[in-house]
């Protein structure tokens, strides 16, 4: 089942002396339950594409259709709300609110969504268990390792009960052991909960585990293979 489709998506950064076509006419679609990596060299437009899919930026032209709805036809306020309810985000770093504990970080997004306290508590517990950090739940991000922080970020992304999770270079700051651990957790979530993951990465460790690789170069899709 298709959940995301981009139609002739284009993003040009015009501010620079030579306009940069970071995303150049990309039409691609994603199905529910995918475990996909958007790959390519640095500067090829991965982040820009991911941000456009995630409703964080405005395309120069083209459309992003999510569940049949044109995302950028919404007002900015509605897009924010849409992100809150439908999209999970994991970034390379600074994912967590440093003044909150791991548990509170995961809970925060449900708090924004207005989920009642009791349900929040139950979900937080389950999610932290799934990412294997239940025993660390009262620690603040600063007291956790980079890998642990990313696992909390994954739990936070899932707490929103999103349609899909966008992860931009989630492993860039992690050593191999943490990377594998994080990927295994995400793969398992993908298999057991059918959570859709879309990565932007140039990490070969991620590429190896991804089921579909979309290769970009200069803002264009140059390959789209399923392993």
């Amino acid at each position: 089942m298709e959940i995301i489709k981009t139609v002739n998506l284009q993003k040009t950064y015009a501010e620079s002396a030579v306009p940069v076509r970071a995303v150049n006419d990309i039409s691609v679609s994603f199905d529910a339950g995918e475990f996909t990596a958007i790959v390519g060299p640095s500067g090829c437009g991965k982040t820009t594409l991911l941000n456009l899919i995630g409703g964080l930026d405005n395309p120069t032209s083209g459309e992003v259709i999510i569940d049949g709805m044109n995302l950028y036809s919404l007002k900015p306020k509605e897009i924010t709300d849409f992100r809150l309810k439908n999209i999970g985000f994991v970034f390379q770093a600074y994912n967590l609110i440093p003044v909150l504990s791991a548990k509170e970080n995961v809970e925060f997004i449900m708090n924004l969504q207005g989920v009642p306290k009791k349900e929040r508590d139950e979900r937080v517990e389950k999610l932290l268990e799934q990412v294997g950090l239940k025993d660390q739940m009262n620690r603040r991000p600063g007291e956790l390792s980079g890998g642990q922080q990313q696992r909390i970020a994954v739990a936070r992304a899932l707490a929103a009960n999103p349609k899909f999770v966008l992860a931009d270079e989630p492993t860039a700051n992690l050593d191999s052991a943490s990377t594998n651990n994080l990927l295994d957790i995400m793969l398992k979530l993908n298999e057991t909960e059918n959570t859709t993951f879309i990565f932007a990465t140039h990490d070969s460790r991620v590429m190896k585990k991804a089921r579909r690789l979309i290769e970009l170069d200069d803002g264009k899709v140059i390959a789209d293979k399923t392993n």
Binding site: T47, N51, G54, L56, D57, K77, T80, D81, R83, L84, K85, I87, G88, F89, F91, A93, Y94, N95, I97, P98, V99, L100, E104, E107, F108, I109, N111, L112, Q113, R156, A157, A160, D168
Partner: protein, 413 residues
């Protein structure tokens, strides 16, 4: 949860926040204490005036107030005095004969008010007797004793036992004079008063100007047990003597009508110090704005992440606003507490200004000041701090809202 994040955010950069909190609390301490000090000084000045001579309330013949001639006296004053003494708030009542006069020594002369007082009675009403710096408050065997201010004594170049000549107008309009001997020299906190007030025994003055001092008097001074009873007692007296007031026999005035300048000056100084507090708050608001801007710039990526995961702009705005309020209110609370502490302590012990008292005395201020402030004032300042914080939060919060999440999350920390 947003509240708790905002509060914790305040303490992320402990030192920076503590510096702002310190600045706010010291700024407020300075402003509020200055205000309390000014008010204490004002109150002191009023108190000095009330206790050294004018008392809380005075009664006169209305015509006397217009002409200043002692022939316009209050007739049958004893009945009036007795009635006034019945009021429980009244501490003491004094009936005085007052006249404009010229006091001359061998050297020079000076225009003065000559106050004929019943010595024992006057001791209850005014505290001049306790301000004697040379000689005594009457009580010598001499005939026609006078007690004069230090400043006047210096001006006339006279000492204890010196003779001065008092020239006055009699009730019938003739000019007459009498010789008086200086029995005592007083010095109050108000040198303008000292230079222009001479005290003699009521009988001596009455004899000179031809007043029936057993029945007539120029001025009745009413001292109350507490200054704040003035308004209430004034009302009562106006009721009791409604008939006489209507007939134009007497007029009753509180201290602030007798010396309006006293109250005006005080209100002005208080208003000025209030203005001063506002300036301090304005200055502090720049510090608050700056700190919050720094905090937000440092957290660009975090704010980008918050927007990305779906925190609405309104919530973000609210979070920054609350953080600003928390920061400011913590400083405000500390400042109010410090002010309260400082004012309570110095309000009890007083602040000794005798080092600079000479200059202050000429303005009618005492050398001990007891800072004071109405409790409502703390709430008012507290409210102002919150308003300041709210205003100061707008700019940083708007800066945060202007961030584009896609760019903010890319931002290099």
């Amino acid at each position: 949860m947003i509240l708790s994040i905002a509060w914790k955010n305040v303490w992320r950069n402990k030192w920076r926040s503590l510096i702002v909190i310190g600045a706010i609390s010291l700024g407020l301490l300075g402003g509020i204490f200055y205000l309390a000090f000014t008010k204490g000084m004002a109150q002191q000045q009023i108190n000095t005036a009330i206790h050294s001579y004018i008392a809380n309330i005075q009664l006169h013949n209305p015509k006397y107030l217009i002409n200043g001639e002692s022939k316009y006296a209050i007739p049958s004053y004893r009945k009036i005095v007795d009635k006034i003494k019945e009021l429980p708030e009244v501490q003491a009542v004094g009936a005085r004969a007052v006249s404009q006069a010229m006091a001359s020594s061998a050297v020079t002369g000076a225009g003065v008010m000559i106050n004929g007082v019943d010595v024992e009675e006057e001791k209850e009403v005014s505290n001049i007797y306790s301000k004697i710096v040379d000689g005594g408050y009457f009580g010598t065997k001499m005939k026609n004793q006078a007690v004069i201010g230090k400043k006047l004594a210096d001006k006339l170049n006279v000492r204890i036992h010196s003779k001065i000549v008092i020239t006055v107008q009699t009730l019938s309009g003739d000019i007459t004079y009498g010789a008086f001997r200086i029995a005592g020299i007083y010095k109050t906190d108000n040198s303008a008063f000292d230079v222009s007030n001479v005290f003699v025994e009521k009988k001596a003055l009455a004899d000179l100007i031809g007043m029936d001092y057993q029945n007539e008097t120029t001025e009745i001074a009413v001292l109350l047990k507490h200054n704040n009873m003035t308004g209430e007692v004034l009302k009562k007296l106006k009721n009791i003597f409604a008939e006489k007031i209507k007939n134009g026999e007497i007029v009753i005035r509180p201290w602030n009508k007798i010396q309006p300048v006293l109250e005006m000056l005080n209100n002005m100084t208080i208003q000025f110090s209030f203005f001063f507090v506002m300036i301090i708050l304005t200055a502090l608001s720049f510090g608050i704005i700056n700190t919050m801007l720094m905090a937000i710039m440092e957290r660009t990526r975090e704010i980008g992440m918050l927007m990305a995961i779906g925190m609405s702009r309104m919530r973000l705005f609210f979070m920054i606003l609350i953080e600003t309020v928390f920061l400011s209110v913590t400083g405000g609370a500390a400042g109010l507490f410090l002010s309260w502490l400082a004012i309570t302590i110095t309000g009890k012990t007083g602040i000794d200004l005798s080092a600079v008292a000479e200059g202050l005395n000429s303005l009618g201020y005492g050398s001990f000041v007891y800072p004071e402030i109405e409790p409502e004032f703390y709430f008012m300042i507290g409210g102002l701090v919150i308003v300041t914080a709210l205003l100061a939060s707008v700019y940083p919060a708007r800066r945060a809202l202007k961030m584009n999440p896609a760019e903010a999350v890319r931002h290099e920390a």
